[in-house]
Amino acid sequence: MIMLEIKGLNVAYDKVQVLWDVSFNINEGEIVTLLGSNGAGKSTTVKTIQGLLKSRSGSIRFMDKSIGGLPAYKVVAAGISLVPEGREIFPKMSVLENLILGAYVPRARAKDLRDESLDWVFKLFPKLEERKKQLAGTMSGGEQQMLAIARALMSKPKLLMLDEPSLGLAPVLVLQVFDIIKKLNEEGVTILLVEQNVHHALGLSDRAYVLEKGRTILEGKGFELLSDKYVKEAYLGM
């Protein structure tokens, strides 16, 4: 069953168009990766889906409802959550407060639901429980990334989008992040992953799309793309 369907998306910043007729879809329960070099338009794509940017034309449907043009807070309420590029945690709040804000949507806000979600994310990220009183801004980059993921989970999303979650992390942490993504998927969360870390990402995903200069130019099964000639040349340097 198709969970998210993007059709003919055109997005521009002021007069500069950066997405051209982008189309793809994500089935329920999948991990889909969006690949693309710097400036290809990956972040623009996920921000548009989330409602942070408005598209010029095209349709975005989520669970059989059109969500194109909805403001971000309504898209979150509909069940999509984004872990943005660069973490964007609330630096002057404690880890716990960051997490509580993650459960702001009416769907997840009730105290008992929130406590349940807290237990869930603390199980996934035990370190966050140890650090729950710490100011988020004083945590290390890796810890902040974990917090950003955990915070996005607090709204109990059906679709979780992660924009370059492994950026700037040490190799051990990168593996940890991919492990978590896999675990989440096994627990039923559908995932759209934006990654430059092609090898890991493709190994993990069911399908992937390649975005180039704002257009979707390739689509395939994760492992198939790994051996694709174009992907090999462009991203794996082979």
């Binding site: 971000a72 002057k92 709040m93």
Partner: protein, 303 residues
Amino acid sequence: MDLSVLLQILVWGLYAGCIYILLAIGLNLIFGVMKVVNFAHGELLMLGAYAAFWIYTLSGINPYLIIALAMILLGIIGVFIERLCFRPIMGTGKLNEIFLSLGLIYLFQNLAALLWTTGSRSIHSPYSDVSVSIGSIRLPLDYIIIIVFTILFLIAFQLFMKRTTLGRAMRATSQNREAAALMGIHVERMDMLSFALGSALAAAAGSLWLISGQIANPYMGSIPAIKAFAVIIIGGLGSIPGAIVAGLTLGIAENVLPLFIQSFVGLFGVSMSFTAWKDTIAFFILIIVLVIRPTGIFGEKGE
């Protein structure tokens, strides 16, 4: 100088400081959430004072009970100002925001003059003749009520910001607007709320000012607003503890220092009054703080 006189002036200063703090906290809140400097904040104080005046004149109930009504009224006016004036120009450049809020100063002043003339208005607090004796000093009850009111407002405000979902959402919006939107926070609504709350706090300042025996006129807001700006800069932009410390320091300093200077030059046989220097003191302190610590006493970027 006699100690009881000094203590009395100290309370005077605390009282003036309370007014500055209420204004400064509202300004800080609006700036934090919307990143807009509302230069017309003093005019909200003025409208709050007139609101209190008219509600009192028309109803005759205890003026202290009117404060809540004036705050609600100005809260609603604040919502309209945000929706009609600031929202349409948000993100179109700082200069637009500055000129808009400067324009609002003249709009509100002239509107008030047109509706209610430029004459002074005042109301009579039922406690204006009551004073409390502590040892050898006698303090007007109204001043004590105002100091207590301000403390209660501050505690309530702090609890609201720290403990409630809405307060936390406002703090989140001020720390990172885009991330706040990603949490599902309706950030435009937070703009509206911050303006409403800021306006209500200005109304509290204005009505307390009037009830304590000060006069209201269409231009009464300018000097307190300028001092509230000084308080914010001295305390550090966005810092609530900073605003409290700076507001109290300023209130006390501008009342106590002129007397100190007067008795100091008195030692040299010069007899001269410095009370006219009162309004200048804020700026002396401001300049000194900026030279020593450009980010303000509690200053840092963010919240």
